[in-house]
């Protein structure tokens, strides 16, 4: 299953005036893989991710995401991926049910599909008792788990997660990662950024960006061997401190 390439990036570059935010990055992500996309603040992660999800046009280079070209078919990319960030979450003043219905509609699901998905999702997350409550009343951890599930409503081929667990308590953080494992296990590719280095270890492969370039890319195990350290935290410190 993990043989098929789902993200193909070659010399992808983005410039803002004279400033090269993303500098000719090249990598591939396989179907069903959990791919960790790490880097210091300002290294260019968000800019790179924006190009991959079709909301920012690259200055040069190539990228195919879910078999679509970022230059010519950005809208097809958007239909075939899910996206969730720490900041975005959901509509606080809609209920759990309304949020699911709203996003299901946006993704073009039929009423029947939305109802089925909603029942399934509410049961899986144990949200039966709060389904008619405003999202604002839920604890952060629940919100993030709900946001993750909503981003998967339309069965995307890839889900992009931008620091999904920031500020979340340690138990919920782990429940969240169990959801990520399950998603990848079911064949959806997971592309995730995080500042928690223990989470970097959960990924199949990890890339580390420094000043717009990918300076390391491998499995956590091999990266630790390569840099002769015991943890991903130390790999990160060695690389990013230069």
């Amino acid at each position: 299953m993990k043989d098929k390439t789902i993200i193909h990036v070659e010399n992808l570059t983005k410039m803002f005036g004279d400033f090269t935010a993303v500098d000719a990055i090249t990598f591939e992500v396989k179907k069903g893989e959990i791919f960790g996309f790490l880097g210091a603040n300002g290294a260019g992660k968000t800019t790179a991710m924006k190009m991959l999800i079709g909301i920012s046009t690259p200055t040069s280079g190539e990228a195919q995401v879910a078999d679509f070209n970022v230059y010519t078919n950005p809208d097809d990319i958007k239909k075939n991926i899910g996206y969730m960030s720490q900041k975005f979450a959901l509509y606080d003043d809609l209920t759990v049910k309304e949020n699911i219905t709203f996003f299901g509609g946006i993704y073009g699901l039929s009423k029947k599909q939305i109802n089925e998905k909603r029942c399934q999702l509410v049961e899986e997350l144990g949200l039966e008792e709060v389904v008619n409550e405003l999202v604002s009343s839920l604890p952060l951890g629940w919100k993030q788990k709900l946001a993750f599930s909503v981003a998967l409503l339309h069965d995307p081929k890839i889900i992009f997660l931008d620091e999904p667990t920031g500020g979340v308590d340690p138990i919920t953080r782990r429940q969240f990662w169990e959801m990520i494992y399950k998603t990848a296990h079911n064949g959806t590719t997971v592309f995730v950024t995080t500042h928690y280095m223990d989470e970097a270890e959960y990924c199949d492969r990890v890339s580390i960006m420094v000043d717009g370039k990918i300076e390391a890319l491998d499995t956590p195990k091999k990266l630790k061997e390569q840099f002769k350290v015991d943890s991903m935290n130390d790999v990160f410190l060695k690389l990013a401190r230069g």
Binding site: G39, A40, N41, G42, A43, Q86, P139, L140, G141, E163, G166, G167, V168, D169, P170, I171, T172, R174, W177, E178, Y181, K182, A184, H185, H195, Y196, M197, D198, E201, Y202, P220, K221, S231, M232, N233, F236, L237, A240, R241
Partner: protein, 300 residues
């Protein structure tokens, strides 16, 4: 001196944000408030910095009462809120001058205290604060919180969303400030930062789970923890959770942290069970308890 908190409670409508919390921070201590979003950390900070009045309880900061002596507290503490709160349309230098002036001092008078930190943003002193990068904003906010040489420094999640390199540098700065005699109360959701504090309070849902040194908190955790690894993480977690004797199963970096209900647990038995579940490359070995393990057990 330091900080004393006795039975402090605060509710917002029906929500009890802080529930009868008590703890002391000693003079000169670097004390960490460790807990997730929504635990009540910011409410505690706001009560101690006299920006919010508690429903119940008492507190003193540097010997001053948070109600009676609120003006003294404001003169003697520095506060760096979680959200960037400087003037975006003033320059770096103007922000710093502004804070120095309202505290009746000058940048020159206390330059020594902020030098380490300010020197890194001084090349940009004519840039507007709103145009700074996240890391630079943080350094400016810390400089402004220090410019009047406070006795106590309050830092509300200074490292949230900050990468590991900058986080490490920030904690090195804090240690240097502590050596200059400043009492520091800092909050963070990152459990690995807990180990860098003299003492910590673990907090969740408005309640203190435990107050102690990081070492003692880890020592008080009584169960043996095992690192378990296997080729397929997802199957491993599922299998361990279905194992009838499991007590806790938490993914932890490249391994799963596993504890067993039984006191006479035999790892070989578990390996056999996992092999039976068709897992490959199984490894199991006893491991060190971390603050995060202790937190999860207390929060369970």
């Amino acid at each position: 001196m330091g900080i004393k908190i006795k039975n402090i409670s605060k509710s917002y409508g029906d929500l009890k944000a802080v529930d009868a919390i008590s703890f002391d921070v000693k003079d000169g201590e670097l004390f960490g408030l460790i807990g997730p979003d929504g635990a009540g950390k910011t409410t505690i900070f706001r009560i101690l910095t006299t920006l919010l009045i508690a429903d119940e309880g008492e507190a003193t900061v540097a010997g001053y009462d948070v109600i009676k002596d609120y003006i003294d507290i404001r003169n003697h503490v520095g506060y760096m809120p979680g959200r960037f709160s400087l003037y975006q349309d003033l320059t770096v230098e103007e922000n710093l001058e502004f804070f120095a002036t309202i505290f009746n001092t000058t940048i020159e008078e206390n330059y020594d205290l902020i030098k380490d930190i300010y020197i890194q943003i001084e090349p940009f002193k004519h840039r507007r604060a709103g145009k700074l990068s996240g890391g630079m904003k943080q350094k400016l906010a810390l400089s402004c919180a220090l410019i009047h040489k406070p006795k106590v420094l309050f830092l509300d999640e200074p490292t949230t969303g900050v990468d590991p390199v900058s986080r490490k540098e920030f904690w090195e700065m804090l240690k240097r400030l502590q050596q200059k005699g400043i009492t520091i109360l800092v909050s963070t959701p990152y459990m690995d930062e807990a180990a860098l504090c003299d003492r910590i309070a673990l907090i969740q849902d408005g309640k203190i789970l435990k107050v102690n040194t990081p070492k003692e908190i880890v020592k008080d955790y009584s169960k043996k923890i095992y690192d378990i690894g296997a080729g397929d993480m997802y199957e491993l977690i599922l299998s361990l959770k279905e194992y009838e004797h499991h007590y806790s199963v938490y993914p932890f970096g490249e391994f799963v942290h596993y504890t067993d209900k039984r006191s006479d647990f035999n790892p070989k038995e578990l390996v056999k069970y996992l092999e039976h579940r068709n897992l490959k490359d199984i490894t199991i070995q006893e491991t060190q308890t971390t603050i995060e393990d202790a937190f999860m057990e207390l929060a369970k």
